[in-house]
């Protein structure tokens, strides 16, 4: 097996060691492929029943968060400052067993504001967000 002494330096290995680079590339590729579909996030909103039952039992103790124009908010018709919304909802939902809220947005407000309100509600411990019928 012993090699004879090279005559033209052909035994000198000039190739770069690329194996670590391939490893890194493969890992990058895999990370990319995994993250793209996994990173989607959403807020679940229960849509109203299209065939509502006649109001046999009127639920009086439901919480309705209203999103009003000009960045104003109201919980059960009572105006709440934007920065107090979260604290207010927390105070309501901490002792409540039913973590259900209805988020009612004024038709003129930006969609982003309604999402903000739903976001705060989830932050206050709400589990189910309902959209009231139109």
């Amino acid at each position: 097996m012993s090699m004879s002494a090279p005559t033209g330096g052909s035994n000198l290995n000039n190739d770069m060691n690329v194996t670590p680079m391939i490893d890194v590339l493969l890992v990058l590729l895999i990370i990319f492929m995994m993250i793209i579909p996994m990173s989607r996030k959403a807020l679940d909103a229960q849509l109203p029943d299209p065939t509502p039952q006649p109001a046999s039992q009127v639920n009086t103790d439901q919480i309705v968060l209203e999103v009003l124009p000009d960045d104003k908010y109201a919980v059960n018709k009572e105006p709440v400052e934007k920065k107090e919304v979260l604290a207010r909802l927390k105070a309501i939902f901490d002792p409540r067993p039913e973590k259900i809220i209805f988020v009612k947005g004024d038709t003129t407000v930006a969609y982003g504001n309604v999402i903000w309100a739903m976001d705060q509600a989830r932050g206050a411990g709400v589990k189910v967000i309902g959209i009231p019928p139109k």
Binding site: I22, L25, A42, L43, D44, Q46, L47, D106, W116
Partner: protein, 155 residues
């Protein structure tokens, strides 16, 4: 660099250069195509903090509403008046779930969104998952969301 004595001159490593070429090309293709996937559908979803992860799955239906209020069903533009029929064809049948993803532009008047949600509710959709992006450098305050955070093989 020095001369090897014990058979080091025999090269047993595979030639990996073509493989790197392929990898690099794949990487570049991915990087280019990702932004293009959403081309033609201009909607910037709103940002939020306390969001629930919804990894993409086969059979997910996405209703897009762009900044002009136009509808897209699974990224294909559809006429707004056809939307009810198309959604009904999907959801007024037996399905494993009745959840529809709604990706709407953040500055859209809520009227347009509520119109869409109303249309969905009348065509068999029970839950609308409103697609929202995580505000950078925030984490959901809801514990179960964090447990659901991206993990391979999760549902």
């Amino acid at each position: 660099m020095g001369m090897s004595v014990s058979g080091g001159g025999v090269k047993a490593e595979p030639n990996v250069t073509p493989m790197i070429d392929v990898m690099l090309v794949l990487l570049i293709i991915f990087m280019i195509t990702i932004p293009q996937i959403n081309a033609g559908f201009k909607a910037v979803p709103p940002e939020g903090q306390n969001l629930k992860p919804h990894p993409e799955e086969e059979g997910d239906q996405v209703l897009g509403i762009d900044d002009q209020g136009r509808y897209y069903l699974n990224k294909k533009p559809i006429r707004n008046e056809d939307a009810a029929t198309l959604v009904g064809q999907i959801y007024l049948t037996e399905r494993p779930d009745y959840i529809m993803y709604v990706k709407a532009h953040k500055d859209l008047a809520y009227l347009k969104v509520i119109d869409a949600l109303d249309m969905l509710s009348r065509n068999g959709v029970r839950v609308a998952a409103l697609i929202t992006e995580q505000t950078p450098n925030t984490e959901s305050l809801v514990e179960s969301d964090r447990l659901l955070a991206p993990k391979s093989g999760g549902k």
